[in-house]
């Protein structure tokens, strides 16, 4: 069989497995969503925010809640592979291990984006501004693509340490900071009435982050998982 086709098939099978587990268990997305909403409410009390929030604060709140919530999903996704040594089975697939990375990263991206899509109408209601706009969706997809790509890579790293779950946020947040800054700035620009052209340099930064983290996954996933 064509090696590229075989590779893509493995990626697809892993993604399919992730979606099936989520569909049957329904334990990832709901937990992330409830956690993200909890953060929003906590911030409201802690910072005494008003409903007519400025665009900047709303964008910041959206990304902070998404960044926190997606660590839950990332940890869960990699922990599933640890149970019953499922990872050993995956590693036996006769294909470059970056295929596992792409399958899992796509799964994480899909789930986190769904959570983000659920949050947008809630934010629109709570903070009285229309967040269901196409440019913001684009920023959301790009930002989460870069973020979950790095997150998947680092979760494979942190799973091998004794401190496992608690290690991932410590590694992920500082490294993902440029992407988060760009995402917040781009969202803020779009929400305060700008077009995508006004925030193009932030979009480029998001793209650069996405490419960098995806290339790192392609390069290093094999090295990280070798026994």
């Amino acid at each position: 069989m064509n090696p590229i086709l075989g590779y893509l098939k493995v990626v697809w099978q892993i993604l399919r497995k992730e979606v099936l587990i989520e569909w049957r268990g329904r334990q990832g997305i709901p937990v992330m969503l409830v956690f993200a909403l909890m953060i929003v409410f906590l911030f409201n009390f802690a910072l005494q925010l008003s409903p007519d929030l400025q665009a900047g604060l709303a964008a910041g709140l959206l990304w902070v809640s998404l960044a926190f919530a997606s660590t839950l999903g990332l940890n869960r996704s990699i922990n599933l592979e640890r149970e019953n040594n499922a990872l050993d089975g995956l590693l036996m697939v006769p294909v470059d291990r970056s295929a596992i990375f792409f399958g899992k990263a796509l799964g994480n991206f899909l789930f986190t984006t769904l959570v983000g899509l659920c949050l947008l109408p809630v934010f629109s209601l709570l903070y009285q501004q229309n967040m269901l706009q196409f440019p913001l969706l684009l920023v959301l997809i790009l930002g989460l693509g870069a973020y979950t790509s790095l997150g998947t890579l680092l979760s494979a790293l942190s799973i091998q340490a004794r401190t496992r779950d608690i290690l991932l946020p410590v590694l992920l947040y500082p490294l993902a900071l440029p992407v988060l800054i760009a995402a917040v700035e781009a969202s803020q620009g779009v929400l305060s009435g700008g077009t995508l052209g006004d925030v193009d340099h932030w979009i480029y930064l998001l793209l650069a982050g996405f490419l960098l983290f995806t290339a790192s996954g392609l390069l290093f996933f094999e090295t990280i998982l070798e026994e």
Binding site: S158, V179, A208
Partner: protein, 226 residues
């Protein structure tokens, strides 16, 4: 193995002579800046520490890459030595910057992009040690440490690009047009800066070498036990 290399002894002596000399040069033989006064002299140490910190993080990433290719543990020793020493210098850069900022900006800390991203950089490398301490064998420590050191350096340009997009109040010494307030240095100031940069680089080489030897001795000691 246990004997200290003669070149290292020579480097030690060189650092012991040149570092105090640089301090004397900066304190007594550089002009006092017209607006800021004597506190501007912190700048020589500040910029040197920042430069040395950045340099050592790059060395650590290169050594990490060399480890992944060759799988020789010596490269890992160099990588961890560079990160450990670099982290100290990065913290010195932040602290000396704060000392300067107190009279000039009238506050110890501002949430300026340049300061914030430097602090984040320190946290990134602090997490490196948290990662390593959670791993069991020297081999995994070296392998995952190398991957992390490369990832960390790869995000630094992103971070620095992102702050160029903000307006910063941090002085831009190596000006590339726009942003911040550049200040012009007299030739004597510039000379002192170069001396300071050179002496700090020597000090970095010396300390990294010592830390490298420590890792070597540590391994020898471990092997004696087993």
């Amino acid at each position: 193995m246990f004997k200290k290399p003669q070149l290292l002894v020579a480097l030690d002596i060189l650092c012991l002579v040149t570092f105090p000399a640089a301090v004397v040069l900066i304190l007594f033989f550089t002009p006092v800046e017209a607006v800021m006064g004597p506190v501007q002299k912190v700048f020589y140490f500040h910029m040197s520490a920042a430069w040395v910190g950045m340099l050592s993080f790059i060395i650590a990433a290169v050594a990490g890459g060399a480890y992944l290719v060759t799988r020789r543990i010596k490269w890992d020793w160099l990588s961890i030595a560079a990160i450990e020493v670099g982290l100290v210098f990065a913290v010195i850069a932040i602290l000396s910057g704060m000392i300067w900022a107190r009279p000039i900006w009238n506050t110890w800390w501002v949430w300026d992009p340049r300061l914030t991203t430097t602090a984040i950089m320190v946290m990134i490398y602090f997490a490196y040690f948290i990662l390593r301490s959670g791993l069991n064998t020297p081999e995994t420590q070296a392998r995952l440490g190398a991957v992390y050191a490369i990832l960390a350096v790869a995000t630094v340009p992103l971070t620095f690009f992102s702050i160029r997009l903000f307006r910063t109040i941090h002085p831009v010494v190596i000006a590339t047009g726009g942003g911040g307030s550049a200040f012009n240095m007299s030739p004597r100031m510039l000379n002192a800066l170069f001396v300071s940069l050179f002496v700090f680089t020597l000090l970095l080489a010396d300390l990294v070498w010592h830390r490298f030897r420590l890792a070597q001795l540590q391994q020898d000691a471990d092997q004696e036990v087993y």
